[in-house]
Amino acid sequence: MIKIENLHASIDGKEILKGLNLEVKAGEIHAIMGPNGAGKSTLASVLAGREEYEITAGSVDFDGQDLLELSTEDRAREGLFLAFQYPVEIPGVSNVNFLRTALNEIREYKGQEQISAKEFMVRVREKSAIVELDAKLASRSVNEGFSGGEKKRNEIFQMAMLEPKLAILDETDSGLDIDALRIVANGVNTLKSSKNATIIITHYQRLLDYIVPNFVHVLYDGRIVKSGPKELALELEEKGYDWIKAEVDA
């Protein structure tokens, strides 16, 4: 699905990603953990296409396409979805209008027909149920007045509506209480299929109790320095990152 090779990225002249390698295949869930400042959010931003970052070396193959050559909106249209850590509010634009516009832009890109109003509303009802998002919120402005938990659930709702090939969840669990966490996890699990993949960026092991990953990676100092099965997350929870840093810096 996605193959990242030797990715180097800088911002304002400072190098954050220093030769990152990662491969995620269809049907897989990968978790990325790591200390603060390691470059986790940078990775998410770079993959999504934030222009502030300069790619100085490396490549990213997304399902046979050179991802770095595509604009942000084209990456989205090709099936890349980022669940933001801090979703913005867009006053005056309803969630429903926003999503329908997005869906139709994606369909137009793929040469498909625009979605009918009826089909769209059916989908909205179906998907909002997955994340237990009140239908009333759907007609409110995007994220306006939403609580932290509602914003994160709204991200998963959008993911459910847009059906991406690769979803990157950037610390989706931060700021969530146990119930919200459960709902978000349930949403992600429901959407999982053999045809899509998910990258979960997180600090805490807890989410991975609900969304069981195939692989866990540690991102430290701009590179993936350790990979392992889901047990690795438990080990990190117990021991922290010092032992990894020691291994790497040695």
């Binding site: 934030r50 989205a76 979805f81 867009i90 516009t101 995007v142």
Partner: protein, 483 residues
């Protein structure tokens, strides 16, 4: 007695003068400049009655004593009033070669009027001159017939002067007197044409009246004069303006619009303005200096809705005089400025009667290097018990070189009044755009979504067809504007 040399000389003198004058009428264009002769020329050209010529001359005399106002937050090279042509020939009418060439909108509107397909094709058929300007007989007949049945008068101001002089005399200048301001005085002296509309008692006008349909013999409408009167219990929704940019050489548009809503009547006046705004360097463009005012009698309501995207300089304050008890005044506005445009616009709500209400929703959008100002006045007079006002003026800044300014004035002389004022300033965040991009929405669409969301409250006030045009217009005006 024989024909003397003196008499001959006198004859020749007179003949030369007359000759010169006749040539001018034939060429259909007055020489540049403004003086009594030009005014007489305009009046004669329109075959006006003596009383109207007198009005014009009086206005001209008053105008000469006035000084051009300078208090607006705009900078522009003052027009040279002697360097303007105050009357020019009507536009060349188009000849359509085939049905396919006809503007689809025109086709749609004709269909709406109930003009049959055959009739439509005949109207716009090969070699028949068409546009609603010339085709006064056919189109106006179908349209006017429907209105005529209800007693509704909707015609050009010039026609009204001839056909309904009593009505015109009764109401003209009662809301915007000649002495009101510099440009109103100028307009009163040299206005060329405009619209006249009268809705009789208790009649609800069944269709939106639009200047698109009004027979416009005047041409460029540089100094338009419009008068809308809704008699007791009547209702009318009036649309002004065209969404096609007017690439006009004539810089100055100084119009006057007077609305009169008698007891229990309601007038809804919507404008979508897109005059030529000048080029990207700020050269050229229309100066849109307009005086628009409405007066409400008891229980009456006047609603102004405007979407202003054009003109190099916009200077207008559609206002309401809430004279009658329980009367209501509303002002909804979206003013967009881009590149080097400047706008100083807003409203005045004058509360005179008891239990009057006013609502002001103003949305300014600045982009490029433009300057956008809201100037509003809420005035509550001594005896205006229980007045209510709600004002909201929001500014959206699209670049870091544009400016948004707010000059709200509140003058309250009655302690039972309730006045609320809210204001916000915001910009379209890069994060908001990125969020949209990441969902597959292009940047232009994203801006369009966000701007429309921002203007929603105002756009919702427009009649449907206008709202769609307005949305398109907003998108076009803001193309490439996010800094």
């Amino acid at each position: 007695m024989g024909y003397t040399e003196n008499e001959l000389a006198k004859d020749l003198e007179n003949q030369e003068y007359k000759f010169g004058f006749v040539t001018n009428i034939e060429s259909d264009k007055a020489p540049k400049g403004l003086n009594e002769d030009i005014i007489r020329f305009i009046s004669a050209k329109k075959n006006e009655p003596e009383w109207l010529l007198e009005n014009r001359l009086k206005a001209f005399a008053i105008w000469k004593t006035m000084t051009e106002p300078e208090w607006a937050h705009v900078h522009y090279t003052k027009p040279d009033f002697q360097d303007i042509t105050y009357y020019s020939a009507p536009k060349q009418t188009k000849k359509y070669e085939s049905w396919d060439d006809v503007d689809p909108e025109m086709k749609a509107t004709m269909a709406k009027l109930g003009i049959s397909m055959e009739e439509q094709q005949r109207l716009t058929g090969t070699n028949i001159a068409v546009d609603f300007v010339m085709d006064s007989v056919s189109v106006a007949t179908s349209f006017k017939a429907k209105l005529g049945e209800l007693g509704i008068i909707f015609c050009s101001f010039s026609d009204a002067v001839h056909d309904y002089p009593e009505l015109v005399k009764k109401y003209m200048g009662t809301v915007v007197p000649t002495t009101d301001n510099f440009y109103a005085a100028l307009n009163s002296a040299v206005f060329t044409d405009g619209s006249f509309c009268y809705i009789p008692k208790g009649v609800r006008c069944p269709m939106e009246l639009s200047t698109y349909f009004r027979i416009n013999e005047g041409g460029t409408g540089q100094f338009e004069r419009t008068l809308v009167v809704a008699d007791e219990g009547a209702y009318v929704s009036y649309l002004e303006g065209c969404t096609a940019p007017q690439r006009d050489e004539n810089q100055l548009h100084a119009a006057v619009v007077e609305l009169i809503a008698l007891e229990n009547a309601e007038i809804k006046y919507s404008t979508v303005q897109n005059w030529y705004p000048g080029d990207k360097e700020g050269k050229g463009g229309i100066f849109n200096f307009v005086t628009k005012r409405g007066i409400c009698e008891r229980n009456a309501k006047i609603s102004w809705t405007q979407v202003e995207t054009g003109s190099a300089v916009t200077w207008k304050y559609p206002s309401c005089i809430l004279k009658g008890d329980n009367s209501i005044g509303e002002f909804y506005s979206v003013a967009v400025t881009n590149n080097y445009q400047q706008a100083d616009t807003g409203t005045k709500m004058i509360h005179l009667g008891k239990n009057t209400k006013s609502t002001i929703i103003s949305k300014g959008i600045s982009a490029g290097k433009s300057q956008n100002s809201y100037r509003g006045l809420v005035q509550i007079h001594k005896n205006a018990d229980n007045a209510r006002n709600f004002s909201q003026c929001d500014s959206l800044l699209m670049t870091d070189e544009c400016g948004a300014h707010t000059f709200p004035y509140i003058e309250c002389k009655n302690s039972s009044a309730k006045i609320e004022h809210e204001a916000t300033t915001s910009k379209i965040g890069e994060d908001q755009i990125f969020y949209c991009l990441q969902r597959g929405i292009s940047a232009e669409k994203a801006i369009s979504l966000i701007v429309n969301g921002y203007c929603k409250e105002v756009l919702n006030q427009l009649p449907m067809e206008f709202a769609v045009e307005a949305q398109k217009l907003l998108a076009i005006s803001l193309e490439g504007s996010v800094g």
